[in-house]
């Protein structure tokens, strides 16, 4: 049996916040709701989209899979976030796969119904554009961080500054703390650490970051500056 979405929940989705109650009720009629079990795929990378999905509750992993089968998490979607607006609005294949990391409830609207909503409520279209503009800005900042390697250099400096001197363990830092120090996002720190490990400069040994080659790491910090 198809579940019905609550209009209070609908008003918390970014595209529909600010709509009058009567308008929300009209939009609500076009939505459907479904539950997804933990571990189940919501959609696959490369699939076209038939409906626009919002996350109602739970956590969803958005990820890409490399040709070698290696998984890279792009982000973890939180409640009220949209999951697949890119492939809905450009009619292209989904750039990511989405998998439920917990029991999840998603709210969806089919593309033809979405088109009708956008025609009837142009303010929703404005919200969609604002959302894409904000995300584009974030991506540009991320590209700048990754392209110019400033972040890897800053992460390396943090590791060198906080490493134990060999006589005992150094300070303990979470990835979030490193990100705050480096002025970047947690996910970028995680990728930087992976990149340093692949280069053989550090080794990630469960809760330890082991600096394998201190001199090479110092050189890496200098070349990234």
């Amino acid at each position: 049996m198809q579940m019905v979405i609550d209009s209070t929940v609908l008003s918390q989705f970014p595209y529909f916040s600010g709509l009058a109650a009567a308008d929300l009720e009209i939009v609500r009629q076009s939505f459907f709701e479904k539950t997804v079990r933990r571990g189940e795929m919501i959609f696959m990378e490369g699939e076209p989209a038939e409906s626009l999905y919002f996350l109602n509750s739970g956590v969803v992993k958005l990820f890409k899979t490399s040709a070698q089968g290696k998984e890279q998490i792009i982000s973890l979607a939180r409640p009220h976030e949209v999951l697949n607006d890119i492939s809905v609005f450009d009619n292209g294949p989904s750039p990511v796969g989405a998998q439920a990391m917990t029991a999840v409830i998603i709210d969806g609207i089919k593309k033809d119904r979405l088109d009708a909503v956008l025609r009837q409520f142009p303010q929703v279209g404005a919200r969609v554009i604002q959302g894409f503009a904000a995300r584009t800005r974030q991506l540009i900042e991320l590209v700048e961080d990754l392209s110019f390697r400033h972040v890897i250099g800053r992460v390396v400096k943090i590791l060198l500054e906080h490493a134990g001197d060999g006589t005992g363990p150094g300070e303990r830092l979470t990835q979030q703390e490193m990100a705050a120090m480096a002025g970047t996002a947690r996910e970028v720190v995680a990728r930087s650490l992976k990149a340093l490990e692949e280069r053989g400069l550090i080794r990630l040994d469960r809760h330890r970051i082991v600096i394998v080659d201190k001199r090479a790491l110092q050189e890496a910090a200098e070349e990234a500056a």
Partner: protein
Amino acid sequence: MTQMPKIDPEQCNLCGLCIEVCKCGAIIIVQDKVTVIETEECHWCTICEAVCPTGALTCPFEIILEES
């Protein structure tokens, strides 16, 4: 002793997301408190820390120099 993720009970709002995402079953509720149990199955994926909405659960890294 196996190093495990840390939980700050005062910041924890018992949302349970960490328990749901944990693949190794290291996080459980004991007497209405989220508790991390010691297990070598924990591979420090840090996803529990990533999903925690309050920052109550953390996976701090120890940074050390490899012994020559």
